[in-house]
């Protein structure tokens, strides 16, 4: 498996310049894309396909801060399984309990829970922004120190972030139910 950082020729780090990353991605694409190998023998064409799919996967991962951090955690041997993000972060217990009640009411057809849910959506969206700031500062710390402790903290923030993200999606889905097919008018 190609190391995405190696493929881009950059050190393992978490704070990346997106402009520089894009520039490098375009350069590498010009070299590796299958279009460039159409007139070449089969083996070279196959290699171009493998290399450029790896390049695209790498770019997709590295340009997104959360995916980038998860990827680096994986490289450094951290367990980044789904399971951990399902545990409720203790400081959110009370809020999540109330939210679930409101979600139940809303799904049961009780629209009076709507203002509460809209407020909760705002709160959790703000929390997401906070976690993104936290991540940013941990990214900088890690790039300076390469400390495993920082990575461990990043993992905790990522789990918390994932949890909150799921809550926001759940609230959004409940507030805007999928549209019903229109009833034909006669």
């Amino acid at each position: 498996m190609t190391d995405y950082f190696e493929l881009f020729g950059i050190p393992r780090s978490l704070n990346l310049s997106l402009d520089a990353l894009q520039q490098r991605y375009y350069e590498l694409s010009r070299q590796l894309h299958p279009d460039r190998f159409m007139q070449k023998p089969e083996a070279e064409r196959q290699r171009a396909l493998d290399m450029s799919s790896a390049l695209n996967d790498a770019y997709r991962t590295l340009k997104d801060p959360v995916k980038r951090a998860q990827y680096l955690l994986g490289l450094e041997g951290f367990d980044i399984g789904e399971q951990r993000s399902k545990d409720v972060p203790p400081e959110l217990l009370e809020e999540v309990f109330e939210l679930n009640m409101a979600l139940e009411e809303m799904r049961g057809g009780d629209d009076s829970a709507r203002p509460q849910l809209e407020q909760a959506e705002k709160n959790f969206t703000n929390m997401l922004a906070e976690t993104d700031q936290q991540l940013q500062s941990f990214f900088e710390q890690y790039d300076k120190s390469k400390s495993q402790d920082v990575l461990s903290q990043i993992r905790n923030v990522l789990n918390r972030r994932k949890y909150i993200q799921n809550l926001v999606s759940e609230v959004e889905r409940t507030l805007t139910p999928s549209p019903q097919p229109p009833i034909p008018a006669h």
Binding site: Y26, S29, R30, H33, P34, D35, R36, M38, Q39, L49, S52, S53, A54, N56, D57, Y59, R60
Partner: protein
């Protein structure tokens, strides 16, 4: 631009459209459409099988749609890569005659034979190939073919199969809006964010691209593979049929010829309404007349629901692209249906900028395909397309839930690996069900294929470790490979496409298509000889009234009569050589007569 055309053969770019198809190529002056023998750049995607089995494509087939509707088919692109159960809606609106035995691949009845949609599309492709060959004077066997960006794996595979059946090596499938952007970028703009709104005869696509010094990076795409000008035609046709029913007191909808004539009238009115404030649908059929004026106001009202159906995918696409509306520098309009003023104003409202309409919306996709062909041949080396897969790819997991492996709008080629194990002791194969779509449950997505991993070592349940790699190539087509992680051994993967042709079926069709091409050629030769025969028979007929004829000796006149009779005897055979021989005999028998007639005119 650095272009070198010296080293490569002719790779053509083909827009295989629902309504019309075009073939283009690129030289030092830029991309250009190759016209057909009749001078038309657009080849209607209509195919007719005339009695005797000869294939007629394009404008002549469009005429046969009126007189031989049961032997003629149009808009077959709507059926490409689809199963019988997902075309139920199409069948209500289109006169497709589905034959029995259409469970896995649809079979269309045309005359006394059945054909699959890829075979019909191959006939259109073969016509385009032939047009290009006549234009260049050399064989053409490589092509870039465009497909709607929102085409799924089966629809793409079906298009590739059609190319193979037509004798074309399909070097690349390019998404239509991306091809349009390539032609547009070549012409108008080097940098910026561009949206391409492509409303054609049967499909709708929206793509948003970032253009950066020759890189065309698709950020997101969305669409509806069953939405286009056809839907507008059907809407107007239904109204006209109701009118006719009440005015004439007869149901024309069961009369194929009548329906096709009315359909043609409806299309003419629709096209007129793009340029004038009112147009009328006019039909004269079997001594009866129907006329109805449609104002643009009414037309707009009627088609608003259809136009609105394009706006949801546009909004989703903008969201997926991660751009704000005001970051989009231009909107490029592609497809004949974007000539409709209501479509233009809807797009203008949504994107808050005036859409670009100066490129010919019928031609721009084919021109872009020609540019991509030049890129693949190596003659254009400063441009590069980075396209995306329109739909997420996933596998079925426990409880009929989809586990997504490659998300929509991922740049292609894209890959994902997943480990599988066995659930039962001694199990030696694992069945993987691959689906495409955005929904959470398998049943709500499109089944692509079932992959059977065979030859797994019979070990305890859960001990096997098979790494499966899913790869979407630059055509947007999936391939699957598997490796046993314990033994390092490659696994054979048997593919059962849910819809579509097997390799053997395609091979068989390629063979049949060669035979068909030979038959067509023979039929053409026969037809040409008959035209010759007609000419000489007519000349003899005239000559018999000429004085010179009566000056001939009796035996000379008898020889002429004999040769004419023999020609008439072979006239209806399928042997063009025999007809040619008999024509020559008439020629020989009438040499003296012709000479005498010539002398007569001179004196």
């Amino acid at each position: 631009m650095d272009i070198d055309f010296s080293s490569t053969g002719h790779i053509v770019g083909i827009d295989l459209g629902t309504t019309n198809s075009l073939v283009a190529f690129m030289d030092l002056t830029g991309p250009r459409i190759i016209p057909g023998a009749d001078g038309d750049k657009l080849v209607p995607s209509v195919v007719s099988i005339v009695p005797g089995g000869e294939v007629v494509v394009g404008n002549p087939a469009r005429e046969l749609l009126m007189t031989q509707p049961e032997r003629t088919v149009y808009s077959v692109k709507r059926l490409m890569g689809r199963g019988l159960n997902d075309v139920a809606d199409e069948l209500k609106l289109f006169p497709f005659r589905i034959a029995s035995g259409s469970e896995s691949v649809i079979q269309l009845q045309l005359g006394d034979r059945t054909y699959t949609p890829p075979e019909i599309s191959a006939m259109v492709l073969r016509q385009l190939k032939q047009n290009a060959e006549e234009y260049f004077g050399v064989a053409v066997d490589k092509a870039v073919i465009t497909v709607p960006a929102y085409f799924n794996d089966a629809q793409r595979q079906a298009t590739k199969d059609a190319g193979r059946i037509a004798g074309l090596e399909v070097l690349r499938l390019v998404n239509e809006p991306t091809a349009a952007a390539l032609a547009y970028g070549l012409d108008k703009r080097e940098n910026g964010i561009v949206a391409v709104y492509d409303l054609g005869g049967g499909t709708f696509d929206i793509s948003i691209l970032k253009l950066h010094d020759g890189i065309f990076e698709v950020l997101a795409t969305n669409g509806d593979t069953h939405l286009g000008g056809d839907d507008i035609d059907n809407l107007l046709l239904r109204i006209a049929l109701e009118d006719v029913a009440s005015e004439w007191g007869e149901d024309l909808s069961r009369d194929s010829e009548g329906v096709q004539r009315l359909r043609r009238a409806v299309i003419e009115a629709k096209e007129g309404l793009s340029f004038v404030p009112a147009a009328s649908i006019e039909l004269e059929y079997r001594g009866k007349k129907y006329q109805r004026e449609i104002t643009r106001e009414l037309f707009d009202k009627l088609i608003t629901p259809i136009v609105d159906r394009t706006l949801g995918p546009c909004r989703d696409c903008i969201k997926d692209a991660g751009v704000a509306v005001d970051q989009i520098d231009e909107v490029v309009m592609v497809g004949g249906s974007t000539r409709i003023p209501l479509v233009r104003s809807a797009v203008e409202n949504l994107f808050r900028s005036k859409p670009h309409t100066e490129l010919n919306p019928d031609e721009v996709v084919a021109l872009g395909a020609a540019v991509q062909a030049a890129i693949l041949s190596g003659s254009v080396d400063n441009k590069l397309l980075l396209d995306v897969t329109p739909l997420s790819l996933g596998i079925e997991t426990m409880g009929g839930v989809v586990s997504k492996l490659i998300h929509r709008n991922s740049t292609i080629p894209a890959s994902a690996t997943q480990n599988f194990t066995t659930g039962v002791d001694g199990q030696t194969n694992v069945l993987i069900h691959v689906v495409q779509g955005e929904r959470e449950l398998v049943k709500d997505n499109r089944s692509l294929a079932r992959f059977d991993l065979k030859g797994i070592d019979p070990v305890q349940a859960g001990m096997a470790r098979i790494e499966v790699r899913f790869l979407i190539d630059a055509n947007g087509i999936l391939s699957v490979t598997a490796r046993d992680q314990r033994t390092g051994k490659e696994h054979s993967v048997e593919v059962k496409p849910s819809y579509g042709l097997t390799d053997e079926q395609v091979e068989k069709m390629i063979q049949e298509s060669f035979e068909q091409a030979e038959q067509d050629f023979a039929a053409r030769q026969v037809r040409e000889q008959r035209v010759e025969a007609d000419a000489i028979l007519l000349a003899v007929e005239k000559a018999r009234k000429h004085g010179a004829y009566f000056e001939l000796a009796d035996e000379e006149r008898a020889a002429i009569d004999k040769s004419v009779n023999e020609l008439l005897l072979v006239y209806n055979t399928d042997d063009h050589n025999l007809i040619a021989t008999k024509i020559e005999e008439v020629n020989q028998a009438t040499i003296k007569l012709a000479e005498n007639m010539l002398k007569g005119t001179q004196t």
